[in-house]
C-alpha cells in the first residue's frame, strides 16, 4: 500500500509502539507520548471529528504553536481524508478571514484562548465555522459560544463513537491514496491575497524521504519544533520527516523558554532561518562583552583560531598538526562549552534557509564544528530542491540539486525546477497555477540565479525584482534590491533594509537599526537616548550606518554585474518594520512595494535631494489598537566607488 501520513503513523505504532514519538515540556518536565499512545489519540480524535461531521475533502484549520495534540489533530484530519490547513498563530484575526473563506473551512482546532478569540472574531465574516475546539482551557471557562468545545471533549466523544463503530477508523485510513491532497499551506505572499498551496501525501513524503536519505537521518534523531507549524519548513522537519523517519519531535514549554529547552534537548537535526542564528550569536556576543578581561581575551583568541582552522576541518581539508592541537585545546576550553550553551552539542546536521545568511555568521557556526548548511526550496516545492553536501557548505550558494530534481535557468535568468515534490495546484486559483506550472511539469520559482562552476545553485534575487537604473550616471545598470539589502543586513547594526532603484537614476535605501546592537554600541559610548526613534536619528548612529553602507558600496564595486547599483543616499526609519503593520511578511521578508507606497514622502525626499523629512506613521499594537509615531528623519549621503573589474 502506498504511504500516506496516517499509514506511516500506524506503521510506527505497530513496529515500535513504546518508542517516543513526541515530547512536550509541561509543568517543568518533558512528557513523552509514544507512537502507540499517539496512534490511540489520533484514532479517538478522528472518530470525534467524523461524528462532528467532517467529510472527506473538507478543510480543517489548525492554529497554534507546536503542540503534540495539534499534530495529532492534523493526523486525525488526514486519517479521514480531510485536509488540515495550518495557519500562522501570530497572525491577526483579519488575516485568517481570507484562508478560512477561501477553503470554506467549517472546523477549527486551536491552541488557546487567544486563538479562540480570533476565531470568534472571524466568525462574524465567516459564519460557516461551526466547530471550534481548543487544546488549553485556560480562561475559557465562561465562554458560551455555540460550537466551542475543549479538545478533551472531542477525544472523549471520539472514543465512545469508536466503540460503536469498530473498524471505521481502519477503513477510513485504507481509503486514502498517496495522490490525495494531504495539506493546504497558505503562502505569506509579498503582494495580494495569500495563495493556498495544495500538496499531496505523495509530494510531501517523496521530498521528506529524499532529504532524509541525503543527510542519512534515522529514528534516533531528535528535533526541537519551535517555528510556526504553518510554515512549510517547520511542517516538513517536524511532521513529514518525523513520520517518514520516525524520529523524536520535542515541543518547547513556551516561546520564551526555547533557548533553555534547546539546551536541555540538544537536538541532532536542526533547522532555523538565518535570523535565529543571528539572534543566538548576538546574545553570545553581548554576554561576552560583559565578561571579564581574561575570559574575553581567551574567547577572542580561540575564536580567531576557529575562524582560521574550523571551516577547513569541517570540509575535511588538510590542517597542520600544531593547528589541530590548538583547535583541540580550544574545543575543550571554549568551543564545546559554547556549543553546549547554544544547545548545539549534539547537532549532526543543521540547516538554514528562507533568506541569505551572512558569511561571518555562517563561518562562526561552522568554525565551532557545527555542521551548518544551506538549502533551497519553497512552499511550492515541498522544501527540498537543493541541499549542500556535508563537505561543501558555502555562504553564497544554496547547494546542489538532490535526487529527483532537475534545474534549468531560463533566458530571463529565472530558475525553473522539475521535481516529484511540486505543488499540485494553487487552491481555487487556476490562473496562478498556470502562471507557475508549465504543461511539461516545469515550475517557475520566480528566483533569479545561476549554477556556479562547482554545480551549486546561486540565487541573487526575486526575478521580478531585478531591475535596472534609468537615467543618471549609471543608466541601465543592473539592480538587485535584495542582494543589496542582504549585504546591508549582514552588519549586526542593521536589522532590515529596503532598497529602491528600479527605473530611477540612483539607488537609495531605508534602514532599520537593530535596537539591541546599536543600543549596546551607544551605551558603550555614553550616548544617551530615549527609545528607538530617538536613537535612530542620533548623528553618531547615522555615521555608524553610513560606514556600513559605504563598505557595502566598496564591496559592490568589485562585482562585474552589480557595480552600478551602489547606494548613494539613505535614511534610518523611525520605527521598526513590522508584520503587524503589513510591512513585513510573517516570515520577516520586506514588502518593498507596500513600504514604498506607505512611505512615499520619504522616497520622494530621498530622490529630491532634501536633507531631512518629517513623517507620521500609524502603528498597530499586538492587541489591535492603533497609535502614531512621528519624527523628522535625517537623510544621509553615502560615498560610492568606481567599479573595479574583477582581478584577472
Amino acid at each position: 500500500m502506498s504511504p500516506t501520513f496516517p499509514r506511516l503513523l500506524l506503521d510506527h505504532a505497530a513496529r515500535r509502539p513504546s518508542a517516543p514519538a513526541l515530547r512536550e515540556k509541561d509543568f517543568g518536565i518533558w512528557q513523552t507520548l509514544t507512537w502507540s499512545e499517539l496512534a490511540a489519540l489520533v484514532r479517538a480524535m478522528a472518530c470525534g471529528l467524523a461524528e462532528a461531521g467532517l467529510q472527506r475533502g473538507q478543510h480543517l484549520v489548525v492554529i497554534g504553536e507546536n503542540r503534540p495534540r495539534l499534530y495529532a489533530a492534523m493526523l486525525a484530519t488526514q486519517a479521514l481524508g480531510a485536509i488540515p490547513v495550518p495557519l500562522y498563530q501570530d497572525a491577526a484575526a483579519t488575516e485568517f478571514v481570507f484562508p478560512i473563506g477561501n477553503a470554506e473551512v467549517a472546523f477549527a482546532i486551536v491552541e488557546d484562548q487567544e486563538q479562540v478569540d480570533k476565531m470568534i472574531e472571524v466568525r462574524a465574516t465567516c459564519p460557516q465555522v461551526a466547530h471550534i475546539w481548543y487544546d488549553d482551557p485556560r480562561g475559557l471557562r465562561n465562554y458560551s459560544e455555540p460550537g466551542l468545545a475543549p479538545l478533551d471533549a472531542l477525544v472523549a466523544a471520539g472514543r465512545a463513537w469508536d466503540e460503536k463503530h469498530p473498524g471505521f477508523f481502519e477503513a477510513e485510513v485504507a481509503k486514502a491514496k498517496a495522490s490525495d491532497v494531504a495539506a493546504l499551506f497558505f503562502t505569506s505572499g509579498t503582494t495580494g491575497n495569500p495563495k493556498g498551496v495544495v500538496h499531496t501525501h505523495e509530494t510531501l513524503i517523496d521530498r521528506a524521504a529524499a532529504g532524509a536519505r541525503f543527510d542519512k537521518l534515522t529514528a534516533d534523531d531528535e528535533v526541537l519544533a519551535y517555528l510556526p507549524p504553518a510554515w512549510i519548513g517547520q511542517n516538513i522537519f517536524s511532521y513529514a520527516q518525523w513520520l517518514v523517519c520516525g524520529y523524536i519531535v520535542n515541543c518547547p514549554e513556551s516561546a520564551g523558554t526555547v533557548t533553555i529547552d534547546l539546551k536541555e534537548i540538544g537536538p541532532t537535526y536542526y533547522f532555523a532561518p538565518p535570523s535565529v542564528f543571528e539572534n543566538l550569536l548576538t546574545s553570545v556576543m553581548i554576554r561576552m562583552e560583559d565578561a571579564g578581561r581574561p575570559k574575553r581575551w581567551l574567547f577572542d583568541r580561540a575564536m580567531a583560531l576557529a575562524r582560521r582552522v574550523g571551516p577547513a576541518l569541517m570540509d575535511g581539508k588538510p590542517v597542520g598538526a600544531l593547528d589541530r592541537f590548538r583547535y583541540a585545546l580550544g574545543k575543550v576550553l571554549i568551543y564545546a562549552p559554547l556549543r553546549n550553551t547554544l544547545g548545539f552539542s549534539r547537532v549532526r546536521v543543521a540547516y538554514t534557509a528562507g533568506e541569505a545568511i551572512g558569511p561571518d555568521l555562517f563561518t562562526f557556526y561552522r568554525s565551532l564544528g557545527i555542521n551548518l548548511k544551506q538549502l533551497y526550496g519553497s512552499t511550492e516545492t515541498a522544501v527540498f530542491v537543493c541541499l549542500q553536501p556535508d563537505n561543501e557548505a558555502r555562504a553564497d550558494t544554496v547547494g546542489v540539486p538532490i535526487e529527483g530534481v532537475e534545474i534549468k535557468v531560463a533566458d530571463s535568468g529565472e530558475i525553473l525546477i522539475r521535481s516529484p515534490g511540486l505543488l499540485k495546484e494553487y487552491y481555487k486559483n487556476p490562473a496562478a497555477t498556470a502562471e507557475v506550472l508549465s504543461a511539461d511539469g516545469w515550475y517557475r520559482t520566480g528566483d533569479a540565479g545561476f549554477m556556479d562552476a562547482a554545480g551549486h545553485l546561486k540565487i541573487i534575487d526575486r526575478a521580478k525584482d531585478v531591475g535596472r537604473l534609468a537615467g543618471g550616471a549609471n543608466d541601465g545598470a543592473l539592480f538587485a534590491p535584495k542582494y543589496v539589502e542582504n549585504k546591508l543586513k549582514f552588519f549586526p547594526y542593521i536589522k532590515q533594509a529596503v532598497a529602491f532603484g528600479d527605473r530611477r537614476e540612483k539607488v537609495c535605501a531605508f534602514i532599520n537599526i537593530d535596537l539591541q546592537a546599536v543600543g549596546n554600541w551607544a551605551e558603550k559610548r555614553n550616548l544617551p537616548y530615549g527609545g528607538y526613534t530617538d536613537l535612530s536619528q542620533k548623528k553618531e548612529v547615522c555615521e555608524l550606518i553610513r560606514d556600513c553602507v559605504q563598505k557595502v558600496n566598496a564591496d559592490l564595486a568589485t562585482d562585474d554585474k552589480l557595480a552600478g547599483g551602489q547606494i548613494s543616499r539613505f535614511l534610518i526609519l523611525h520605527k521598526e518594520l513590522d508584520a503587524d503593520d503589513g510591512e513585513l511578511t510573517r516570515t520577516a521578508k520586506v514588502r518593498r512595494g507596500f513600504i514604498g507606497e506607505r512611505y512615499d514622502v520619504l522616497v520622494d525626499a530621498l530622490y529630491s535631494g532634501k536633507s531631512e523629512q518629517f513623517v507620521e506613521t500609524a502603528v498597530r499594537f499586538e492587541d489591535g489598537r492603533v497609535g502614531k509615531v512621528a519624527a523628522t528623519l535625517k537623510i544621509v549621503d553615502a560615498e560610492t566607488f568606481k567599479p573595479v573589474g574583477r582581478a584577472a
Binding site: 518536565i29 514549554e253 520564551g256 523558554t257
Partner: protein
C-alpha cells in the same frame, strides 16, 4: 464583568479601631467581603489601607472591634493562624528572597502544607523527597498559570520589577488560599505590566475561585476589575459600594481631589 458570582459574606470587619500610641490609624471601620468577589480598598496616602490589611492578616492586633472569617470571630490571632485559615497576601514592597530562584521562592509558599520536618528535608530522602515532588507539582501549575516558565531557575533579584510582583503573587497562590490579600499589586508598573497583572488577578479570581481583597492606587484599574470598593481617608471609612457609586460619592471626590475653601 457584571455577572460575577458573588455569594455570602466570608470576611466581616466590625468596628475596627487601631492606634499606635496617640496616632489613630483606623477608627471604627466596618465592611464585609463576599465569597468570590474582588473587593478594593482605596484611599489617599496614609489613609490606613495597609494597616487595614495588616489587621485582617493578623500582623496588627486592633484595640477595638473584631474580624470574622467564615463565621469564626477572632480578635487576637497571629499571622500564622490566619494563614492556616486560608488567607494569603502579597506585599507592597516585595518581601521576596532575592538570592533564591523563582521556583524556590514560590516553594516557600508551600511551607504550611509540608508535613516532614527540617531534618528529614535536609537529608531529602523517603517521605521528604516524595513530599517535595508533590509540592513541586502544585508550584509548577502556578508557574504555568503565571507564565513565568522562562525564569524558573533565575534568581528573583535579577528579574524586572513587574515579574517580581508576579512571583510574589505566585508565592501567595502556593498557599492555596481562599482569601487573597493584595497590597498594591500594580505599584510601580508600566501600563503593559498593569494590564498583565489585571488579567492575572481576574484569572485567579476565576480559575482558583479566590476571594480577593485588593489595595490599589491606580483608580482606572480599581474601577475596571473590582466588584465593590471601600474608601478610607484618615483612618475613617468615607465610602462603600460599587465602583460607579463610589466614583460619584462627593466625600470621595473631596478626599481625592480636595475642595476649594
Amino acid at each position: 464583568m457584571t455577572a460575577r458570582r458573588s455569594g455570602e459574606v466570608v470576611l466581616e470587619v466590625q468596628n475596627i479601631s487601631l492606634r499606635f500610641g496617640g496616632v489613630k490609624a483606623l477608627s471604627d471601620i466596618t465592611f464585609d467581603v463576599r465569597e468570590h468577589e474582588i473587593r478594593a480598598i482605596i484611599g489617599p496616602n496614609g489613609a490606613g489601607k495597609s494597616s487595614m490589611l495588616n489587621c485582617i492578616n493578623g500582623v496588627y492586633q486592633p484595640q477595638e472591634g473584631s474580624i470574622s472569617l467564615r463565621g469564626k470571630t477572632f480578635r487576637h490571632m497571629n499571622s500564622r493562624q490566619v494563614a492556616e485559615m486560608g488567607v494569603a497576601r502579597t506585599f507592597q514592597n516585595l518581601a521576596l528572597f532575592k538570592g533564591m530562584s523563582v521556583l524556590d521562592n514560590i516553594m516557600t509558599g508551600r511551607n504550611l502544607k509540608m508535613t516532614t520536618n527540617i531534618f528529614q528535608q535536609a537529608i531529602r530522602w523517603g517521605a521528604a523527597e516524595r513530599e517535595e515532588t508533590a509540592q513541586r507539582i502544585v508550584v509548577e501549575r502556578i508557574i504555568d498559570f503565571l507564565e513565568i516558565q522562562p525564569y524558573r531557575k533565575t534568581p528573583v533579584g535579577q528579574l524586572p520589577y513587574g515579574l517580581q510582583k508576579r512571583v510574589d503573587l505566585g508565592r501567595a497562590l502556593a498557599m492555596e488560599p481562599t482569601v487573597l490579600l493584595l497590597d498594591e499589586p500594580m505599584a510601580g508598573m508600566n501600563v503593559e505590566e498593569k494590564q498583565d497583572m489585571s488579567r492575572f488577578i481576574l484569572d485567579v479570581n476565576d480559575e482558583f475561585g479566590c476571594t480577593i481583597v485588593l489595595i490599589e492606587h491606580d483608580m482606572s484599574v480599581v474601577m475596571d476589575i473590582s466588584d465593590r470598593v471601600v474608601v478610607l481617608d484618615y483612618g475613617k471609612k468615607i465610602g462603600d459600594g460599587s465602583p460607579e457609586e463610589v466614583r460619584n460619592n462627593p466625600e470621595v471626590i473631596k478626599a481625592y481631589l480636595g475642595t476649594a475653601h
